[in-house]
Symmetry: C2
Subunit: 131 residues, 2 copies
Amino acid sequence: MEIIIDIEDSEPLFAQLVTQIKQAVLSGKILPGDSLPSIRQLAGDLRLNNKTVAKAYRLLERDSVIEAKGYRGTFIHPQAVANSTVDINDIITRKLGDTIQALRTSGATDSEIRIVFAELMKAHQEQGVNL
Amino acid sequence: MEIIIDIEDSEPLFAQLVTQIKQAVLSGKILPGDSLPSIRQLAGDLRLNNKTVAKAYRLLERDSVIEAKGYRGTFIHPQAVANSTVDINDIITRKLGDTIQALRTSGATDSEIRIVFAELMKAHQEQGVNL
DNA sequence: ATATGTACCATTAGTACAAATGGTACAACT
DNA sequence: AGTTGTACCATTTGTACTAATGGTACATAT
Protein backbone atom coordinates (compact mmCIF):
# COMPACT_ATOMS: atom_id res chain seq x y z
CA MET A 1 0.00 0.00 0.00
CA GLU A 2 1.33 3.31 -1.06
CA ILE A 3 0.22 6.62 0.32
CA ILE A 4 1.34 9.91 -1.12
CA ILE A 5 0.76 13.12 0.76
CA ASP A 6 1.04 16.40 -1.13
CA ILE A 7 1.47 19.30 1.27
CA GLU A 8 0.97 21.72 -1.64
CA ASP A 9 -2.50 20.35 -2.33
CA SER A 10 -5.37 22.51 -1.16
CA GLU A 11 -7.05 19.40 0.21
CA PRO A 12 -6.26 19.02 3.92
CA LEU A 13 -3.66 16.42 4.82
CA PHE A 14 -6.01 14.34 6.97
CA ALA A 15 -8.55 14.33 4.10
CA GLN A 16 -5.94 13.10 1.65
CA LEU A 17 -5.23 10.22 4.00
CA VAL A 18 -8.92 9.36 4.36
CA THR A 19 -9.49 9.45 0.61
CA GLN A 20 -6.49 7.32 -0.24
CA ILE A 21 -7.27 4.66 2.34
CA LYS A 22 -10.85 4.41 1.10
CA GLN A 23 -9.54 4.17 -2.46
CA ALA A 24 -7.18 1.39 -1.47
CA VAL A 25 -10.07 -0.50 0.09
CA LEU A 26 -12.29 -0.04 -2.97
CA SER A 27 -9.57 -1.16 -5.36
CA GLY A 28 -8.78 -4.21 -3.26
CA LYS A 29 -5.22 -3.17 -2.48
CA ILE A 30 -6.07 -3.70 1.18
CA LEU A 31 -8.60 -6.24 2.34
CA PRO A 32 -10.99 -6.53 5.31
CA GLY A 33 -9.04 -7.84 8.28
CA ASP A 34 -5.73 -6.43 7.11
CA SER A 35 -3.82 -4.49 9.73
CA LEU A 36 -2.90 -0.86 9.32
CA PRO A 37 0.27 0.81 10.55
CA SER A 38 -0.03 2.44 13.93
CA ILE A 39 -0.78 6.15 14.13
CA ARG A 40 2.73 6.96 15.31
CA GLN A 41 4.42 4.84 12.67
CA LEU A 42 2.37 6.17 9.77
CA ALA A 43 2.90 9.72 10.98
CA GLY A 44 6.62 9.07 11.06
CA ASP A 45 6.70 7.54 7.58
CA LEU A 46 4.68 10.35 6.03
CA ARG A 47 6.37 13.00 8.18
CA LEU A 48 3.07 14.14 9.57
CA ASN A 49 2.09 14.99 13.10
CA ASN A 50 0.54 12.18 15.11
CA LYS A 51 -2.60 14.24 15.55
CA THR A 52 -3.12 14.56 11.82
CA VAL A 53 -3.02 10.82 11.29
CA ALA A 54 -5.13 10.26 14.40
CA LYS A 55 -7.78 12.54 12.96
CA ALA A 56 -7.91 10.58 9.72
CA TYR A 57 -8.16 7.30 11.62
CA ARG A 58 -10.91 8.70 13.82
CA LEU A 59 -13.00 9.67 10.80
CA LEU A 60 -12.39 6.33 9.10
CA GLU A 61 -13.54 4.52 12.21
CA ARG A 62 -16.62 6.74 12.45
CA ASP A 63 -17.48 5.54 8.92
CA SER A 64 -16.74 1.90 9.86
CA VAL A 65 -13.98 1.63 7.28
CA ILE A 66 -11.45 0.67 9.91
CA GLU A 67 -11.61 -0.78 13.41
CA ALA A 68 -9.37 0.45 16.20
CA LYS A 69 -8.66 -2.31 18.70
CA GLY A 70 -6.57 -0.40 21.19
CA TYR A 71 -3.24 -1.97 21.96
CA ARG A 72 -3.88 -4.68 19.36
CA GLY A 73 -3.68 -2.19 16.52
CA THR A 74 -6.04 -1.03 13.81
CA PHE A 75 -7.66 -3.18 11.13
CA ILE A 76 -9.79 -2.88 8.03
CA HIS A 77 -13.45 -3.26 8.93
CA PRO A 78 -15.33 -6.35 7.64
CA GLN A 79 -17.81 -4.09 5.82
CA ALA A 80 -15.10 -1.65 4.74
CA VAL A 81 -15.74 -2.00 1.01
CA ALA A 82 -19.41 -1.07 1.23
CA ASN A 83 -18.73 1.68 3.75
CA SER A 84 -16.00 3.24 1.63
CA THR A 85 -18.51 4.18 -1.03
CA VAL A 86 -20.67 6.07 1.43
CA ASP A 87 -19.46 9.64 1.50
CA ILE A 88 -20.92 11.52 4.43
CA ASN A 89 -20.09 14.77 2.65
CA ASP A 90 -22.46 13.88 -0.17
CA ILE A 91 -25.25 13.30 2.32
CA ILE A 92 -24.55 16.59 4.06
CA THR A 93 -24.34 18.48 0.77
CA ARG A 94 -27.63 17.10 -0.45
CA LYS A 95 -29.70 17.60 2.70
CA LEU A 96 -28.20 20.93 3.68
CA GLY A 97 -28.36 22.19 0.11
CA ASP A 98 -32.05 21.41 -0.13
CA THR A 99 -32.80 23.22 3.11
CA ILE A 100 -30.78 26.29 2.15
CA GLN A 101 -32.50 26.43 -1.21
CA ALA A 102 -35.90 26.29 0.47
CA LEU A 103 -34.96 29.08 2.87
CA ARG A 104 -33.72 31.30 0.06
CA THR A 105 -36.99 30.75 -1.75
CA SER A 106 -38.79 31.84 1.42
CA GLY A 107 -36.99 35.17 1.15
CA ALA A 108 -34.22 34.59 3.66
CA THR A 109 -30.95 36.31 2.86
CA ASP A 110 -27.67 34.46 2.95
CA SER A 111 -26.54 36.67 5.79
CA GLU A 112 -29.56 35.74 7.90
CA ILE A 113 -29.06 32.06 7.16
CA ARG A 114 -25.41 32.31 8.16
CA ILE A 115 -26.20 33.97 11.46
CA VAL A 116 -28.85 31.46 12.47
CA PHE A 117 -26.56 28.62 11.41
CA ALA A 118 -23.80 29.95 13.62
CA GLU A 119 -26.18 30.23 16.57
CA LEU A 120 -27.44 26.69 16.12
CA MET A 121 -23.94 25.25 15.96
CA LYS A 122 -22.79 27.26 18.95
CA ALA A 123 -25.78 26.30 21.09
CA HIS A 124 -25.06 22.64 20.49
CA GLN A 125 -21.38 22.96 21.29
CA GLU A 126 -22.12 24.67 24.60
CA GLN A 127 -23.91 21.55 25.72
CA GLY A 128 -20.67 19.64 25.64
CA VAL A 129 -20.73 17.96 22.24
CA ASN A 130 -17.47 18.04 20.34
CA LEU A 131 -15.30 16.13 17.94
CA MET B 1 -42.79 57.52 17.05
CA GLU B 2 -39.72 57.21 19.15
CA ILE B 3 -36.69 55.20 18.23
CA ILE B 4 -33.83 54.65 20.61
CA ILE B 5 -30.55 53.23 19.39
CA ASP B 6 -28.11 51.84 21.91
CA ILE B 7 -24.65 51.56 20.43
CA GLU B 8 -23.54 49.61 23.51
CA ASP B 9 -26.09 46.89 22.85
CA SER B 10 -24.74 43.68 21.38
CA GLU B 11 -27.66 43.64 18.94
CA PRO B 12 -26.59 45.20 15.63
CA LEU B 13 -27.79 48.73 15.00
CA PHE B 14 -29.75 47.86 11.87
CA ALA B 15 -31.46 45.03 13.78
CA GLN B 16 -32.49 47.39 16.57
CA LEU B 17 -34.10 49.58 13.96
CA VAL B 18 -35.97 46.68 12.36
CA THR B 19 -37.22 45.41 15.72
CA GLN B 20 -38.42 48.78 16.93
CA ILE B 21 -40.26 49.62 13.73
CA LYS B 22 -42.01 46.24 13.78
CA GLN B 23 -42.91 46.83 17.43
CA ALA B 24 -44.33 50.24 16.60
CA VAL B 25 -46.47 48.66 13.90
CA LEU B 26 -47.70 45.91 16.20
CA SER B 27 -48.57 48.31 19.00
CA GLY B 28 -50.40 50.64 16.62
CA LYS B 29 -48.07 53.57 17.16
CA ILE B 30 -47.70 53.74 13.38
CA LEU B 31 -50.43 52.67 11.01
CA PRO B 32 -50.53 51.23 7.50
CA GLY B 33 -50.16 54.07 5.01
CA ASP B 34 -48.19 56.28 7.38
CA SER B 35 -45.04 57.73 5.92
CA LEU B 36 -41.61 57.04 7.34
CA PRO B 37 -38.71 59.50 7.48
CA SER B 38 -36.29 59.23 4.59
CA ILE B 39 -33.17 57.15 4.96
CA ARG B 40 -30.96 60.22 5.05
CA GLN B 41 -33.11 62.06 7.55
CA LEU B 42 -33.47 59.13 9.94
CA ALA B 43 -29.76 58.45 9.72
CA GLY B 44 -29.12 62.07 10.59
CA ASP B 45 -31.51 62.06 13.55
CA LEU B 46 -30.12 58.85 15.01
CA ARG B 47 -26.56 59.76 14.05
CA LEU B 48 -26.17 56.60 12.04
CA ASN B 49 -24.66 56.05 8.65
CA ASN B 50 -27.07 56.15 5.72
CA LYS B 51 -26.11 52.60 4.82
CA THR B 52 -27.11 51.29 8.22
CA VAL B 53 -30.60 52.75 7.96
CA ALA B 54 -30.85 51.67 4.32
CA LYS B 55 -30.10 48.11 5.38
CA ALA B 56 -32.89 48.14 7.95
CA TYR B 57 -35.34 49.57 5.39
CA ARG B 58 -34.29 46.97 2.83
CA LEU B 59 -35.03 44.13 5.24
CA LEU B 60 -38.35 45.67 6.31
CA GLU B 61 -39.39 45.94 2.69
CA ARG B 62 -38.32 42.35 2.05
CA ASP B 63 -40.75 41.36 4.82
CA SER B 64 -43.48 43.64 3.38
CA VAL B 65 -43.63 45.73 6.53
CA ILE B 66 -42.85 48.90 4.61
CA GLU B 67 -43.11 49.99 0.99
CA ALA B 68 -40.43 52.05 -0.70
CA LYS B 69 -41.90 54.26 -3.40
CA GLY B 70 -38.76 55.85 -4.71
CA TYR B 71 -38.77 59.62 -4.76
CA ARG B 72 -42.21 59.61 -3.13
CA GLY B 73 -40.82 58.25 0.11
CA THR B 74 -41.40 55.16 2.20
CA PHE B 75 -44.69 54.04 3.76
CA ILE B 76 -46.07 51.41 6.09
CA HIS B 77 -47.30 48.44 4.09
CA PRO B 78 -51.08 47.71 4.07
CA GLN B 79 -50.45 44.25 5.54
CA ALA B 80 -47.72 45.51 7.84
CA VAL B 81 -49.38 44.36 11.06
CA ALA B 82 -49.67 40.74 9.97
CA ASN B 83 -46.22 40.76 8.41
CA SER B 84 -44.60 42.18 11.53
CA THR B 85 -45.43 39.03 13.45
CA VAL B 86 -43.72 36.80 10.89
CA ASP B 87 -40.16 36.41 11.97
CA ILE B 88 -38.05 34.97 9.19
CA ASN B 89 -35.48 34.00 11.81
CA ASP B 90 -37.94 31.63 13.41
CA ILE B 91 -38.51 29.91 10.09
CA ILE B 92 -34.81 29.62 9.45
CA THR B 93 -34.13 28.32 12.94
CA ARG B 94 -36.77 25.65 12.67
CA LYS B 95 -35.92 24.32 9.21
CA LEU B 96 -32.17 24.59 9.55
CA GLY B 97 -32.28 23.14 13.07
CA ASP B 98 -34.17 20.09 11.88
CA THR B 99 -31.71 19.45 9.08
CA ILE B 100 -28.67 19.85 11.31
CA GLN B 101 -30.18 17.50 13.87
CA ALA B 102 -30.79 14.89 11.16
CA LEU B 103 -27.22 15.19 9.91
CA ARG B 104 -25.79 14.80 13.39
CA THR B 105 -27.87 11.69 13.86
CA SER B 106 -26.41 10.36 10.61
CA GLY B 107 -22.97 10.61 12.19
CA ALA B 108 -21.82 13.87 10.66
CA THR B 109 -19.52 15.93 12.85
CA ASP B 110 -20.15 19.61 13.44
CA SER B 111 -16.91 20.40 11.69
CA GLU B 112 -17.97 18.53 8.56
CA ILE B 113 -21.34 20.26 8.59
CA ARG B 114 -19.67 23.64 8.91
CA ILE B 115 -17.34 23.02 5.98
CA VAL B 116 -20.08 21.87 3.62
CA PHE B 117 -22.25 24.78 4.72
CA ALA B 118 -19.49 27.26 3.90
CA GLU B 119 -18.99 25.67 0.49
CA LEU B 120 -22.67 25.81 -0.32
CA MET B 121 -22.97 29.46 0.66
CA LYS B 122 -19.83 30.38 -1.23
CA ALA B 123 -20.85 28.59 -4.42
CA HIS B 124 -24.11 30.50 -4.43
CA GLN B 125 -22.47 33.86 -3.88
CA GLU B 126 -20.06 33.30 -6.77
CA GLN B 127 -23.02 33.14 -9.10
CA GLY B 128 -23.79 36.77 -8.36
CA VAL B 129 -26.39 36.57 -5.62
CA ASN B 130 -25.90 39.01 -2.80
CA LEU B 131 -27.67 41.19 -0.28
C1' DA C 1 -32.23 72.87 -7.42
C1' DT C 2 -33.68 69.39 -4.20
C1' DA C 3 -35.12 65.02 -2.37
C1' DT C 4 -36.02 60.06 -2.97
C1' DG C 5 -34.39 55.07 -2.89
C1' DT C 6 -30.74 52.58 -4.72
C1' DA C 7 -26.23 50.90 -6.38
C1' DC C 8 -21.61 50.94 -6.68
C1' DC C 9 -16.50 51.96 -5.06
C1' DA C 10 -13.98 51.15 -0.71
C1' DT C 11 -11.88 50.40 4.49
C1' DT C 12 -11.74 49.14 9.51
C1' DA C 13 -12.36 46.28 13.61
C1' DG C 14 -13.90 42.28 15.68
C1' DT C 15 -15.10 37.46 15.74
C1' DA C 16 -14.81 32.64 14.67
C1' DC C 17 -13.23 28.66 12.73
C1' DA C 18 -10.12 25.07 10.13
C1' DA C 19 -5.87 22.92 9.85
C1' DA C 20 -1.73 21.59 11.56
C1' DT C 21 1.68 21.55 14.83
C1' DG C 22 3.97 20.20 19.68
C1' DG C 23 3.97 18.09 24.19
C1' DT C 24 2.26 15.21 28.06
C1' DA C 25 -0.22 11.50 30.00
C1' DC C 26 -3.24 7.51 30.60
C1' DA C 27 -4.99 2.43 30.74
C1' DA C 28 -4.43 -1.91 28.65
C1' DC C 29 -1.77 -5.19 26.94
C1' DT C 30 2.77 -7.96 25.18
C1' DA D 1 10.08 -1.56 29.09
C1' DG D 2 7.62 -0.81 25.01
C1' DT D 3 3.44 -0.16 22.00
C1' DT D 4 -1.44 0.68 21.22
C1' DG D 5 -5.33 4.16 20.68
C1' DT D 6 -6.88 8.02 23.04
C1' DA D 7 -7.42 12.40 25.61
C1' DC D 8 -5.96 16.41 27.32
C1' DC D 9 -2.96 20.98 27.55
C1' DA D 10 -1.59 24.52 24.11
C1' DT D 11 -0.13 27.78 19.79
C1' DT D 12 0.24 29.48 14.94
C1' DT D 13 -1.44 30.59 10.35
C1' DG D 14 -4.84 31.54 7.14
C1' DT D 15 -9.44 32.38 5.80
C1' DA D 16 -13.97 34.37 5.88
C1' DC D 17 -17.53 36.51 7.58
C1' DT D 18 -20.45 40.58 10.12
C1' DA D 19 -21.19 45.20 11.16
C1' DA D 20 -20.44 49.72 10.36
C1' DT D 21 -18.34 53.41 8.33
C1' DG D 22 -17.40 56.99 4.16
C1' DG D 23 -17.89 58.67 -0.50
C1' DT D 24 -19.81 58.95 -5.19
C1' DA D 25 -23.30 58.49 -8.56
C1' DC D 26 -27.72 57.48 -10.84
C1' DA D 27 -32.75 57.96 -12.53
C1' DT D 28 -37.00 59.74 -11.14
C1' DA D 29 -39.66 62.85 -9.68
C1' DT D 30 -41.38 67.68 -7.33
